[in-house]
Symmetry: C2
Subunit: 311 residues, 2 copies
């Protein structure tokens, strides 16, 4: 199947992800005309000024009208309402794609709102981002080498999934397909739960005046461990609530592992503590190795070399 140029693309939510996808589609020569909507006038104007969109409109409906592709790049919590708003404006051939970090809730929202358009709905999760948010930081290369996970529903037509896959591949992403449930289970374990832990650790530090003062002495270990606690509060509130069941399950397992290690410390069980630390350390090393081989280069480009055992 050839990758046809999209005559009209609607970006609902011109933020970092929406703006970057617009820039990337344009650079790849895949979109003739891009219409964008954001609730903030400043974002809309900036998106036009940066060349991410050709035309700014003042409603989500207007952004969706007459499009071949409608991208919903809004906060996770706003997805259901946005779908409901745009559904009546969708043409019969419009592919609809979201870019949220959770998928079960998005699929449920789509089922409740998209009606016949469900056959052309492709839930997508591009694993890409940067510290800064907003369209001002959008870049055409954001998805290069990044993973994008598609979680089509049973109703999604296979050729629409194939087309979505080709679009993401064309902007440099590595595409995979999972069920929404599997996606949410996986990302609860490897992303959402660790974010919760990092946020909780920072909370605990800030609640304790002595620990709070101690942060002045923190080094590279603290820096890396807490980096994800610097994430956007609104985004993470939405993710944690959307995937609450899976995240709570992971958190429970984590607390069990932690209290088990605490018990080894309390009992001064040196051999068992060593064995636990060693298996964790070897597991981390194996992951880094596998990731490096995978070409994802997360581990390879990892942290500054001169810090790993500083403590």
């Amino acid at each position: 199947m050839a990758l046809m140029v999209l005559e009209r693309v609607g970006i609902v939510g011109c933020g970092l992800i929406g703006g970057s996808l617009a820039l990337a589609l344009r650079r790849a020569g895949l979109a003739r005309h891009i219409v964008g909507y954001s609730p903030s006038q400043a974002s809309r104007e900036q998106a036009v000024a940066l060349g991410a969109i050709d035309e700014a409109v003042t409603t989500a409906q207007a952004a969706a009208e007459g499009c071949d592709l409608v991208v919903l790049a809004v906060p996770v919590a706003a997805t259901a309402a946005t779908m409901q708003t745009v559904a009546p404006s969708l043409t019969a051939q419009a592919m609809v794609m979201d870019v949220g970090s959770t998928k079960g809730d998005v699929v449920a929202a789509a089922r409740a709102t998209l009606g016949k358009h469900l056959t052309r709905f492709v839930p997508a999760h591009p694993i890409a981002g940067k510290a800064e948010t907003g369209v001002a930081h959008a870049q055409a290369t954001l998805f290069r080498g990044a993973r994008v996970i598609l979680t089509p529903v049973a109703e999604t037509q296979p050729e629409v999934v194939a087309r979505a896959s080709m679009l993401w591949t064309a902007v440099g992403a590595r595409v995979a397909t999972l069920s929404a449930a599997t996606h949410d289970e996986i990302f609860a374990a490897v992303s959402h739960a660790p974010h919760l832990f990092a946020f909780a650790y920072m909370q605990a530090m800030l609640a304790d005046p002595a620990a709070s003062k101690a942060m002045a002495w923190a080094g590279p270990g603290f820096r890396d461990f807490t980096r994800i606690a610097g994430g956007d509060a609104t985004l993470w509130r939405d993710v944690l609530l959307a995937n609450a069941e899976q995240v709570l399950q992971q958190s429970k397992q984590f607390r069990a592992a932690l209290t088990a290690m605490e018990a080894l410390m309390e009992n001064r069980d040196s051999p068992a503590l060593h064995a636990a630390l060693l298996s964790a350390s070897q597991g981390r090393a194996a992951w880094a190795q596998a990731t490096a081989n995978d070409g994802a280069s997360y581990a390879a480009t990892a942290a500054p070399a001169a810090s790993d055992n500083a403590h």
Copy 2:
């Protein structure tokens, strides 16, 4: 007080830290003759080959004999036994310094073993390291810009502390002085406890087959959050046991913060969850800002820009 050249320096434990300090003292022109001991013959030979030490000896006593400065760069758990071994060989003017990551246990060991030499004992904790251990990775510049914390005991002569401070400053470190108790409380909070949490998280992931498989999908957030779980198991067993009381206290506070956030998720208390995430996120941002201003540049050189909000 002028910084006199040391006629003879004894390095007990020619690993990454001991070897790097030897190289740094030599490069700074502060040591005329450096004697080194390691239990492993290979390490001793490598230390000579790399120019870290002038002479390898086969006992800790021999390394300490006739020295102006004796550096104990052995694993934390071996400190007490090493002090006992070298004490009889110490000259009356020998300054003794350790480089361990915990200080309360080292001070207790010194009190039990060093006798009159306690007046010339300066417990030190250089906050420096790298992913690789061993003298093969030693480098003269390891301490440049690094913090070194001295925790002199009441008996330590002020001029000996001043001299130790000048030595570390001469090799590029930024020196501070704390009590051993304050040191251990601080590093439990900002380093030891987060290490425990990262190790426990890896343990929980490895114990769950689904989560274990999910690691193939892990991205930069996971990478940074777990980096410290790749630390050396023996070193971290020793640190966690040496500072167990403080670390357990921090872990308890952390679990309380975590279960509180879990409760907000269970109750779908969106505003309170947002407030908690926001305060954590702002606390992390404030730390990064303060660290950048401090010139430590931990935060500034932090993580690859294109990943912070990827999840």
